[in-house]
Symmetry: C2
Subunit: 338 residues, 2 copies
């Protein structure tokens, strides 16, 4: 395998990681994290599934990964881990566990001095508005970095090269997000007063968007607003969950642009048929101006747009509920003995 | 690969399927289904992960599988599908899609004349009380058959042979379930009146039990009782969902016996610390008499015990809510145009 840079525009951390990967035999990828960081592993696997015939992959919660101890974890495994702060203890432990099996570990974190960065074989940095408090450019987000990694793997192991298209698309991403904020603002203003009063709000998505729906449910609605929630896969909806649908039921549906979009269209039709439109918030990526984003990668980038814009919706809800966002936690970052 | 029977006690359908598998090169397994049938694919993968270093596997909803069209789906793929009635249209479509890629399809269904049985390369029968209305022996359940398949794969591709232990354990399973019904009866009688009044009941599990928790949430609580629910992974709980916990929050926690049990013990401690014991129903497999079940496989069989016993709990709740079980559906099997 060549040690020359995969693509000169890649993030240097990703480039260095891929150079190390290219020297190894790899027959399994594990995407491992917890909570919000686990949520980006689902779209990473979705992208790898659609771009690589060579690499099988698993997405596992970090504690589950260690306790399960999959037999396929060997020195031919590549384990990709992420923790925003780099302090998530289960993810640090998973890194060490993977190394003890001889696997190569690539860790994504915002803090290069964190325990996770220290533990991993190769650390890849990213930016998060959540840690800096200031706006970031989405081209430096966790999604942006893991997608570079995934398409780099596809280049090394499958000879497919979409990295140029990805790097171009990432340059166009933040402007697309900024336009999406404007586009969704009236929708959010309309729905926030009603959804702020709900005790239960489900999210629903498929394909590349499932992770964002999961993260919005568990990290925003449940964690920060104490609203009962969970992400329902748009087709699984029809195999049980849809029976909770009535005129009071609330859903946030992510209609993305990847190849699974028809699953969400079917769900939308059903939601509108038996639910009340006023309680069904539909984010449709087809309405957005995605100029400069490669059509073949738009579906992969849409979840970032949805998640970023939904933060503003969450703040609106928090305001109406008189509940702070990041401060509104009973246990996380307040308790330290669990 | 030998064509002689893998184990003379195996179900004949499983034996025939494994004989066909043994003649092929296989480098990927896909476990594909919808809803309740998808729920058994999670423990199937859990078992394969712990018994095979040779075979990577994915668990995918059937519609997601087709729309995603993973590049690893090739003639070297083995696709295992399940639908109890054999009529689930997404699963039938997934079978044909897999065949069009040259993959070998093994289908599990209770009806050998169903569209799924017709579509699959090899059909494996099983029994379900749900379809016959009469009690079955759990050794003939979907779990029992798919576990024979999984350990058969581990024998063929990894040389590990736990099939004898599995067949012995399956003989001991129904008696263990019968004893569990008796054991849990007082617990269910105690909790049913309180949980029947709840609008939201979460289920929680890890490892081999996650699928049963998922199925109880979406197919029983949501589908049949219109109670808001969803399955939370026992470690993911600590990365967001736990913030909804207060004295009114209701959980059904599955404490199993596989290697992930410590994850559920940690969750239990937290649930009891900040929730109200009266709203936290804990099923602990360590309390059960599992005589005759191999210690190394007990963790895999516990979810059948939990799920079977929880049906009685569900009927108690239904009774208290004045809501029928199987008849209490608004959409499923009543609408036919969605």
């Amino acid at each position: 395998m060549p040690l020359t840079p995969i693509d000169p525009r890649l993030d240097p951390g990703v480039s260095a990681a891929l150079a190390a990967v290219a020297e190894r035999e790899v027959d399994q990828v594990f995407f491992v994290a917890c909570g919000g960081s686990l949520s980006i592993m689902h779209p990473a696997k979705f992208m790898l599934d659609q771009h690589s015939a060579a690499l099988p992959s698993d997405v596992l919660n970090a504690a589950e990964f260690v306790a399960r101890a999959p037999k396929r974890l060997t020195k031919q495994s590549l384990v990709v881990l992420c923790s925003m702060t780099g302090t998530t203890k289960e993810t640090v432990a998973a890194t060490k566990f993977a190394q003890s099996a001889g696997a190569l570990t690539l860790v994504l974190t915002t803090d290069p001095a964190s325990p996770l960065a220290e533990a991993g074989d190769h650390a890849i940095g990213f930016e998060a508005p959540y840690t800096t408090g200031v706006p970031i450019d989405a081209k430096n987000s966790n999604y942006a970095r893991i997608y570079q990694l995934v398409l780099g793997l596809a280049k090394i192991f499958d000879g497919s090269d979409k990295l140029g298209a990805l790097m171009d698309s990432l340059e166009a991403l933040q402007p697309a997000i900024d336009r999406a904020h404007t586009h969704f603002a009236p929708l959010f203003a309309d729905y926030a007063p009603r959804l702020a009063k709900k005790d239960v709000i489900y999210t629903m998505a498929s394909g590349a968007d499932y992770g964002a729906a999961y993260s919005f449910a568990i990290c925003v609605l449940m964690e920060m607003q104490w609203i009962n929630s969970h992400a329902i896969h748009a087709n699984e909806f029809f195999h049980g969950p849809f029976e909770v649908l009535d005129e009071n039921a609330s859903f946030v549906l992510f209609k993305g642009l990847d190849s699974t979009r028809p699953l969400t269209e079917r769900a939308e039709t059903f939601l509108h048929r038996f639910g009340a439109t006023e309680n069904i918030l539909v984010l449709d990526a087809a309405e957005l101006d995605l100029s400069g984003i490669d059509a073949g990668l738009a579906g992969n980038l849409v979840p970032l747009i949805f998640f970023d814009t939904l933060w503003r919706f969450a703040y609106k809800i928090a305001d109406l509920r008189d509940q702070e966002m990041l401060e509104a936690r009973r246990y996380m970052k307040k308790l330290h003995d669990y």
